[in-house]
């Protein structure tokens, strides 16, 4: 049996991502029926929901990587936190952009100070701050431990921010799939749910594809630095 190298694994991951993205686009744009009330603009949800879920996954990985780094002091964990933060910021920004494109025809405004919107925007700001801190501390191990602390605090702060902005105001659509009063498949049309599921898998695959490349980039940077030193 041929050995599966890192490069090959990435190739397989990339191909799977591509297949799922195409399937997701087909399902979301063509196969699924338009929403009864919102019409075609609802189709943006097939991207909006997967992108915020992957962003959350990402911030959890930042937390995990940060904890592991402080505990074991291995550069690998710090690289994970750094890479996850970068991609998390990207996906959060995408979520906000997609949301405002959807909000304009549906709510009539690009942006509103609703609880969930505000929470997402604050998350974006926290992790932009995280990346800025990384960029501004020159000493590498110092940057890693400072960032790890910020990553942990940022993650611990999320429930508190969540609570405070929810008490403050709520306008966002209540969740349509995970509702306490009904089982998931009764709430929405099965075609819509399939489209959402496929897109979600596509986004998770895309996420790990980007993450693996970003991690490789960190490794290469370290290799170059090590060679320059010698």
């Amino acid at each position: 049996m041929p050995q599966v190298t890192g490069k090959k694994r990435k190739g397989i991951l990339g191909a799977a991502t591509l297949v799922f993205i195409i399937a997701g686009l087909y399902w979301g744009l063509i196969k699924a029926p338009p929403d009864a009330y919102q019409g075609d603009s609802q189709r943006i949800m097939y991207l909006h929901i997967p992108s915020i879920l992957t962003a959350y996954l990402s911030f959890f990985l930042v937390f995990l990587g940060s904890c592991l780094y402080l505990w074991k002091r291995e550069k690998r964990d710090d690289n994970l936190a750094h890479a996850a933060a970068e991609i998390g910021v990207l996906f959060t920004a995408l979520t906000i952009i997609e949301g405002s494109i959807w909000g304009r025809p549906t709510w009539g405004v690009w942006w509103t100070w609703d609880a969930r919107l505000t929470l997402t925007a604050i998350l974006l700001l926290i992790f932009i701050g995280y990346l800025m801190l990384r960029a501004l501390v020159e000493d590498e191990s110092r940057a890693a431990s400072s960032a790890a602390i910020l990553g942990i605090i940022g993650f611990l702060d999320i429930p508190l921010i969540h609570m405070s902005v929810y008490w403050w105001r709520t306008l966002h659509q209540p969740p349509s799939i995970l509702r306490p009063d009904k089982v998931p498949w009764e709430n929405i049309h099965p075609e819509l749910l399939t489209a959402l599921a496929i897109n979600f898998v596509a986004f998770v695959l895309l996420y790990f594809y980007l993450l693996s490349h970003r991690l490789r980039l960190s490794e290469m940077r370290e290799e170059i630095k090590a060679r320059r030193m010698n």
Partner: protein, 225 residues
């Protein structure tokens, strides 16, 4: 007990230094008073509207002055490797954290003791009666602000442009404190009863307690080089 004693010792050192130099306190106080003047030009603060706007304006002024204090918080330790010396001495890192936090709380409290009555005088607010309860709320807000602020001031200590970086990382994390303090003050000024502010007050106290604990636990890693 040992932690408390060490904290008081470190706090005494910082207060003594401040008493001799008057650097932080004076700049913070004048900046706070200055902001009141700026507010006067920026908003139409008629007596009818001022009660409505007072919580936001006051807390904003305190946040800015507090940030000013935080950027100077470790200034005394930066020169001559004083921080390294402190870390080498047999002092609990938690005590260092508590002392620095308390120091900034004291500075902010002193500034507020002057600025808040000044606000009442300058904008002729109708009733002085809610002022003591307002001090209590603002004090709890200060605790939350300084606890998280001290951790982040230490985290950004070795960064380039750290005075600019600190508010950028601090303010998004501070949202629960900002929101709950302002809502508490609003509820108090509306009805004059502290009881109306209770849900927000609980959130604020919860925040204070959580981050105080996290701070004491995590500070070992924060100042580690």
């Amino acid at each position: 007990m040992k932690l408390l004693r060490q904290t008081l010792l470190l706090l005494r050192k910082d207060l003594l230094l401040e008493l001799r130099r008057h650097e932080s306190l004076m700049t913070m106080f004048f900046f706070g008073a200055l902001l009141l003047f700026v507010f006067n030009f920026s908003f139409d603060l008629t007596p009818a509207r001022v009660s409505e706007l007072a919580p936001g304006l006051l807390w904003l002024a305190f946040l800015f002055t507090g940030t000013l204090g935080l950027t100077q918080l470790f200034e005394g330790e930066r020169g001559n490797h004083c921080l390294d010396a402190l870390l080498m001495s047999p002092i609990d890192r938690g005590a260092l954290f508590l002392a620095k936090t308390c120091f900034n709380i004291v500075l902010m409290g002193l500034v507020e003791l002057v600025v808040m009555p000044l606000f009442w005088i300058l904008f002729s607010l109708p009733s002085w009666q809610p002022l003591p309860a307002l001090f209590l709320i603002v004090f709890l807000g200060n605790v939350g602000f300084c606890v998280l602020g001290t951790i982040l001031a230490a985290v950004t200590l070795k960064a380039r442009a750290r005075e600019l970086l600190l508010p950028l990382v601090l303010f998004p994390l501070m949202v629960p404190v900002i929101l709950s303090t302002i809502r508490c003050m609003e509820a108090l000024l509306r009805s004059g009863e502290l009881g109306d502010a209770l849900p927000w007050l609980r959130l604020l106290i919860g925040f204070d307690v959580i981050f105080l604990t996290v701070g004491i636990l995590i500070f070992d890693w924060v100042v580690d080089v």
